[in-house]
């Protein structure tokens, strides 16, 4: 279990990373926290010709509040985000989701943006971004662009990021007053990837539910607020729409049941915590 050969570049500036991406395109792989990439390298599931290390780009190690959103630079680790004092207040959904990601040792290196770029269908952070309707900021030597979460993650481990682009930041919409946010997931063991993860946002007469772990990517549905009976029907429809399949940890049916049962719970919790 050792990686295949590659060149390695430690970038001290964003521009040098962008240059390398422009030069090598799809043959280059950025390494941020390495908590997903390294395992794939060790198993030789990915074989880049050059690994571009952005972990020491201090200029991107920032958490910044802006109008209506909180921006996490590309090298902010999950642990650093957890430790950001305003997190619970400004992005309660992310605060609730972060402890579910792996273990404190993996969060010490794994980044927020790395998780978004990796685009695992069970991951918490892409689910939160999709449910909140956040954006990611991509940069290449050509241009900088801002892409909405739903357009960014296009499928299994797949994103709209072009080979010469890197993600420089992710923008999570900030909590709105009077809105409620809740997160839940079910996994086999503590720290495992979710079998089903659910994020709920309630506010402004709407209910929004994001589901991870079932489809190829986070699925988000929005309804007008409704009574419990209609909600049960709506969740049932949503569960069936998502499909999902069997794997060795759970069945498609189990996943649908969790969408129905925990969906109701998490929406209830979001309603409760409206501030």
């Amino acid at each position: 279990m050792k990686p295949a050969n590659f060149d390695y570049a430690r970038c001290e500036r964003v521009e040098s990373a962008l240059d390398l991406l422009a030069e090598h395109g799809d043959d280059a792989r950025i390494i941020a926290g390495g908590q997903s990439l390294m395992a794939m390298l060790n198993m030789r599931l990915v074989r880049p010709s050059i690994v571009v290390d952005i972990a020491s780009l201090d200029e991107l190690a920032y958490v910044k509040e802006a109008a209506g959103y909180v921006e996490f630079g590309a090298t902010v680790t999950q642990a650093a985000a957890e430790a950001w004092p305003a997190l619970r207040k400004r992005v309660p959904l992310v605060a609730a989701a972060l402890p579910h990601i792996g273990h404190f040792q993996t969060r010490n290196r794994g980044t927020i943006c790395g998780s978004l770029c990796h685009a695992d269908p069970s991951s918490e952070l892409p689910l939160c971004l999709a449910t909140l309707g956040g954006d990611v900021v991509l940069r290449s030597r050509r241009k900088k662009r801002v892409v909405g979460a739903l357009d960014f993650q296009i499928g299994l481990l797949s994103t709209a990021k072009q080979p010469d682009e890197m993600m420089v930041a992710a923008r999570y919409p900030a909590a709105r007053s009077g809105w409620g946010y809740a997160f839940r997931e079910i996994s086999r063991r503590h720290g495992d990837f979710a079998i089903v993860a659910l994020a709920a946002v309630v506010g402004d007469g709407k209910i929004r539910l994001g589901v991870g772990g079932v489809d190829d990517k986070p699925a988000v549905h929005e309804w007008d607020d409704m009574d419990d009976d209609s909600l049960a029907d709506a969740l049932n429809d949503f569960a069936w729409d998502l499909g999902g399949g069997d794997d060795i940890h759970a069945t498609a049916r189990y996943r649908r049941e969790m969408v129905r049962r925990l969906g109701k719970k998490v929406i209830g919790e979001a309603r409760q915590c409206r501030s």
């Binding site: 279990m1 050792k2 990686p3 295949a4 050969n5 590659f6 060149d7 390695y8 570049a9 430690r10 970038c11 001290e12 500036r13 040098s16 390398l20 390494i31 390495g34 908590q35 390294m38 395992a39 390298l41 060790n42 198993m43 050059i50 690994v51 290390d53 972990a55 642990a79 792996g102 273990h103 404190f104 040792q105 993996t106 010490n108 290196r109 063991r189 503590h190 720290g191």
Partner: protein, 169 residues
């Protein structure tokens, strides 16, 4: 910016348990292999090479991380701590090590360096944990021998001892 070429060995220098060390590594060499086989500090163990078992846990710049999920070249210039650095220079066990000893918290000892390094880091930042906290903190370390009960006891005992020690200072 310098690109380190594959199939060539490049100099890597860092501080290991307070001492400066250096060696040569290809870009793809894992930090676990480098520490163990280039530097010769074999206390850090390897159990999965995909980030799950925790046997390779070390501290890099004061944070517990998986050494199997880092490249040796990424350690350049870093402060690294491994199990070999836990006891005092004269060999006296640290409070945590002694608590492991007293509590039968190890059997084969293969997982132990990972547990110790995880706990050193965790207890430093969370000096007053509950049992439930400890169990969650240890969910990233697998042990197949002990069933964890004695490890959890040792961790709680060490936490109390370290607290008492720092209170008396």
């Amino acid at each position: 910016m310098q690109v380190l070429k594959q199939s060539e060995r490049h100099r890597v220098r860092f501080t290991l348990n307070g001492e400066r060390v250096e060696g040569l590594a290809e870009p793809r060499m894992l930090l676990t292999d480098f520490i163990r086989h280039e530097i010769g500090a074999t206390g850090t163990h390897v159990g999965c090479e995909h980030g799950i078992c925790g046997a390779c846990t070390i501290r890099v710049n004061g944070k517990a991380v998986r050494a199997c999920l880092m490249l040796a070249v990424q350690a350049e210039g870093k402060e690294i701590e491994t199990v070999e650095g836990l006891a005092a220079k004269d060999g006296t066990l640290s409070a945590l090590q002694a608590a492991f000893h007293r509590n039968f918290a190890l059997q084969c000892g293969y997982c132990t360096p990972g547990f110790l390094m995880s706990l050193v880091d965790y207890l430093e930042k969370n000096p007053n944990p509950t049992e439930a906290d400890i169990r969650i903190a240890l969910s990233g370390n697998l042990c197949r021998c002990t069933g964890y009960a004695e490890i959890v006891n040792a961790a709680l005992e060490a936490a109390r001892e370290i607290q008492a020690l720092s209170a008396s200072k």
